[in-house]
Symmetry: C2
Subunit: 352 residues, 2 copies
Amino acid sequence: MTKTSKKKATIYDLSVLSGSSPSTVSAVLNGTWQKRRIKESTAALIRDLAETHQYTANRQARGLRSSRSGLIGLLLPVHDNRYFSSMAQTFEAHVRSKGQCPIVVSASRDPEEERRTAETLISYSIDELFICGATDPDGVHEVCETVGLKHINIDLPGTKVPSVISDNYEGGRMLTEAIIRRFPADQPLRADELYLFGGRDDHASRERIRGFRAVKRELLGDDPDGCILPTGYAPNTARLAFEAFYEKNGKLPRALFVNSSINFEGLLRFMAGHPHENFADLTVGCYDYDPFASFLPFPVIMIRQDVEGMITKAFEVIEEGRPQPRIHLISPELVQPRTALTGPLDALKDIG
Amino acid sequence: MTKTSKKKATIYDLSVLSGSSPSTVSAVLNGTWQKRRIKESTAALIRDLAETHQYTANRQARGLRSSRSGLIGLLLPVHDNRYFSSMAQTFEAHVRSKGQCPIVVSASRDPEEERRTAETLISYSIDELFICGATDPDGVHEVCETVGLKHINIDLPGTKVPSVISDNYEGGRMLTEAIIRRFPADQPLRADELYLFGGRDDHASRERIRGFRAVKRELLGDDPDGCILPTGYAPNTARLAFEAFYEKNGKLPRALFVNSSINFEGLLRFMAGHPHENFADLTVGCYDYDPFASFLPFPVIMIRQDVEGMITKAFEVIEEGRPQPRIHLISPELVQPRTALTGPLDALKDIG
DNA sequence: CTTGTTTGCACAATCGATGGTGCAAAGACT
DNA sequence: AGTCTTTGCACCATCGATTGTGCAAACAAG
């Protein structure tokens, strides 16, 4: 409480205290003072005052003037999911290391909401926007384009700007093959015993399904249409699909390709209503990685998407001048059952 | 591309187009026009122009003038964890419904980083700050206090402003009791067979430990000090603790109270290196809920903290004028093994 | 027709930082 | 001593919206 306890110091305050003009103070504190030939001693004085008065620049004012805000946005479908929250965590680290401020917002996979959210971010003059898992990336693109905002797609591709996405076809192949190979030669999996649940008509699902079908044909010789059940991404619609299958067939398929961890939660909900033992010999492949899921009582093979790789690539690409709208594929990783991988959290120090 | 493709329309543009003054345009578009006695027809004309030119206010300018930004901040330890990402998801929904913009940032449980992050958010003139799981809430408080920023603590309490936290003592008791009661009368759990792993010297851990010890004394008649092993929150330090215990005793304790899902990941890492069968009769209680963890091959009893309840309460409290720095306890919920609960995602529509 | 009131809006200062431009004082040079 | 350069900084417009104030025109009252 030694001084002005309630209001933040401005360059005008420091200007009075230092006897210099506001522009001099500004130049000193934003680093352009050499260019403006400010004396070292003047600069030192001002830096000193800034320190003792805890000056920090008002970013709204700076942003208004310079039409840049220092904010970098990440548009996510949802937060509470390991995949997307890893995105957020990794993104944040990258943005912070560039000395900017991350702003992470979700838009619920709703195209309308996606555009509105982008508009909102734009009204804060964000400097760049990373569009992750958007249902309508090109819709968001329109919004960004009209104001000249740099942007890039992640996870789901658009057609107007570069996209950095998982190699879902390859991942789908890897996962399908790994599932099939778990079955011994004397009790091989039949083509009609391996089902794919979840996902919807988006690029990622389509590619995974393409990989799934290709490998089934190659290894199992057949690929019945009925084995593909896109349920959307909501856990409960997935649960209902499992419920319906079980109702009709008295059991689950011998092996499942589950399209995402959120869909996998639908499987859990289904299982909660049925005795444990019914699923003792089920084999599951899940396109997403979750450490706990990896240790479930039946074999769970997972795909871990390379979040760090995607974010890193996305930052590289967005820095390029006028990049082509091409798609950059990042290879995912197959994770065998009972595997506990490290994640972004391990990079943090723990001051236990 | 019909019009000004590159720059956003401002009130000055609309002012020229409509033949009114900028202040009139401003008043019409921010809703204060009745107070300023603007004719309905004038207002209609301006609204119309705004619509066709896709006008949206520059929030930096507005914020600069009104020293409010429409941003509400949430300071988190980390993103990629179900508990905190649920916080983010729930927080976002609340903020959005108030017509404001959420800004969620993590600070890695580092007191220094927490303060710096708060400073940064303040430089954007955020309107309120929710401090969640901060290692040093009172440090962040100082920062907020000097600029008169409304703030509140969640998950970990501070002493200067109200805090909304889980009832960790009660939760610790519930979980401990549930663990103990899982053992049959003929093979009861002994006091030296139930260990607590994880957490550190923060309010939440202390309260949970207090509940743990109280119930052990009440039900098991004893409470050996050696059964408490705070390992910090990093998964790997927890893993090492399990490793060390196993090394020394040739097995894990019969029952574990694991302080958080992040610590639980440490247990998984430990398990990955050992044969499955070694843990067939392990009983685990975990203070956090994760649907996949709930279905692991050994009984896992979990505590789900009431994230929705905490956020709701926090918004209530922060709206009050000068609230007392008291602690509001929100009861958590005990979750039996093999339970798949719904979460914030279920509130979203899925346009599958 | 004059005075008083209401209606409808324009004007201008302001928020805090930025950056182009101008200009006095100090130093260099002939 | 007079001219030219360099140094060191102040001045001021600007970004876009908000808001207190003032004032003409329209209308009402007497």
